[in-house]
Symmetry: C2
Subunit: 299 residues, 2 copies
């Protein structure tokens, strides 16, 4: 199959146009959407959307308790789904929680989220991946700029831009504690990256992103041709939806305030994974996602 | 002389009360001040104050041009007043510009600044130090939390809290490009730090701060007992005045937007430097400041 979004082919950095819609349901059906026309316009233009108050205060408190219960329970785990800080043993992320934990399985199936995601992707969906991010005070490391789609395409074999990330803030996100930074409009451009993915890169890249990071010229171009930089601040419970190709990153957190979130990626069932475009082998956990765990939601 | 503010004496971290006023002119004279009562209240309460539009747009443009002219002229300098990025040769700071450069000498003598500083410090003043900070896009490193006074006290021999820093933003400071972060109210507490200063520490500490950084408990205590964290955003030309003991730091800058400023520290002539409290020798350049360069301004 022709690779519509080549990257890491040992070539130069390049900027290609997006070949997929941002909203996969025809806009003539806006009046049936679980989002307002203004929300849909904003998502289509900027590549992301924040929703306050989707969850009740009690639901947010329950979610906050649940992530720390799971962190405690995972303290001595040697699972490769538990990722620790580069310079300490503190747990930075726990992966695959939509499948491994019955509480988070229910969250991933929450009808309010599924309705929105089904509409944006124009089909049934399944969870491509999920994780809890713990960004503790003082020690939270930065995540460099990247398009998730670039990684999923090259390393996981996701063919098209038809996925959406849902991040639920589980601590108050200020401008100063390493919040999500997004480049509005960047979802419309694909930065084809230089370099070549080594085998087993994913183990390292979960700890520190290096490959798939655009060069400075591309990032400057995206901010100048898009809408600069937006910062995803908001109180705990704020839901941020962002398109798979929206360029984003986050600064380190040197304040006492932690930044925790639950992160779930929904992919269209019509966009299932194929052989990774790097020519490498599929990651074991994604074979599982494809063959077993796929949960047909909505519809 | 008894050390009112001991630190780095190989002891534990401790929080001491401030023993000096924040504003050194009696508040009964507010009506003679070059600042409004609201501005004085805010500075006294928070330990810092931002002023927009002290300089005209043309003055700001001239300042912006002047810092890059000096950076160009210093490109091949091997002076120890030119400090470079830890991981590259890019110029991060140029020190002592109030004395070495006729243009910046005039800026340091600007009557609008001198009037304010004279009032806050309740005496004539002189420049303790000055520098231009270049925080380029993408590569700007973080500055960890510190009180300038702690460093100046221990390493330079500044006896009392009677100095004020003036930072003139020379690029637009957003919340996301590594702006100054301050802890409001922290000027009222002195964090006595653990550790011991090695000789010649200053050469290393200009590149990466390690000693004089409070522990996490002290920082958490300051944010909880003060006003959290404030971020010094504002367009180019914004002047930020902050008290010598106000706890501050800044995150790294991974955006394309640079963050440059001119930084000048004014000390009261009644607070001149003595033997450093670390027991070390005075830095050569501060002997020069004390014996030669001291410029009696104002009055």
């Amino acid at each position: 199959m022709r690779d519509l979004y080549p990257s890491r082919q040992n070539g130069q950095f390049d900027i290609l146009e997006r070949k997929d819609p941002v909203i996969h349901t025809d806009r003539s059906k806006d009046n049936q959407a679980p989002l307002s026309k203004e929300q849909l316009d904003s998502y289509e233009k900027n590549g992301f959307l924040q929703i306050q108050d989707l969850f009740s205060e009690k639901e947010v408190r329950d979610l906050q308790n649940a992530i720390f219960e799971l962190q405690d329970a995972s303290r001595n785990s040697d699972s490769n789904k538990v990722v620790r800080e580069p310079e300490s043993e503190e747990i930075r992320s726990i992966f695959h929680v939509h499948n491994d934990d019955s509480y988070f399985k229910n969250v991933a199936n929450d009808q309010r989220i599924i309705d929105i995601v089904n509409y944006l992707l124009g089909s049934d969906v399944y969870i491509h991946k999920s994780r809890i991010n713990y960004k503790p005070g003082f020690k939270g490391k930065e995540f460099d700029w990247h398009s998730d789609f670039e990684t999923w395409h090259v390393e996981d074999g996701m063919p098209r831009m038809r996925a959406v990330s849902v991040s639920i803030a589980l601590s108050d996100n200020y401008s100063f504690n390493g919040p999500l930074m997004l480049i509005p409009g960047s979802q419309n451009y694909y930065v084809s990256c230089a370099g070549k993915t080594p085998e087993h890169n994913y183990k390292e890249s979960l700890r520190k992103q290096t490959l798939g990071v655009p060069d400075q010229d591309s990032l400057r171009w995206l901010t100048e041709n898009g809408g600069g930089i937006s910062v995803g601040t908001g109180k705990a419970g704020t839901v941020t939806l962002f398109e798979s190709n929206t360029m984003h990153g986050s600064s380190g957190n040197m304040t006492p305030y932690p930044r925790n979130n639950l992160f779930m990626v929904f992919n269209s069932v019509e966009n299932q994974l194929v052989q990774p475009y790097s020519g490498g082998k599929p990651r074991p956990e994604y074979i599982a996602v494809r063959e077993g765990i796929r949960s047909r939601l909505g519809a």
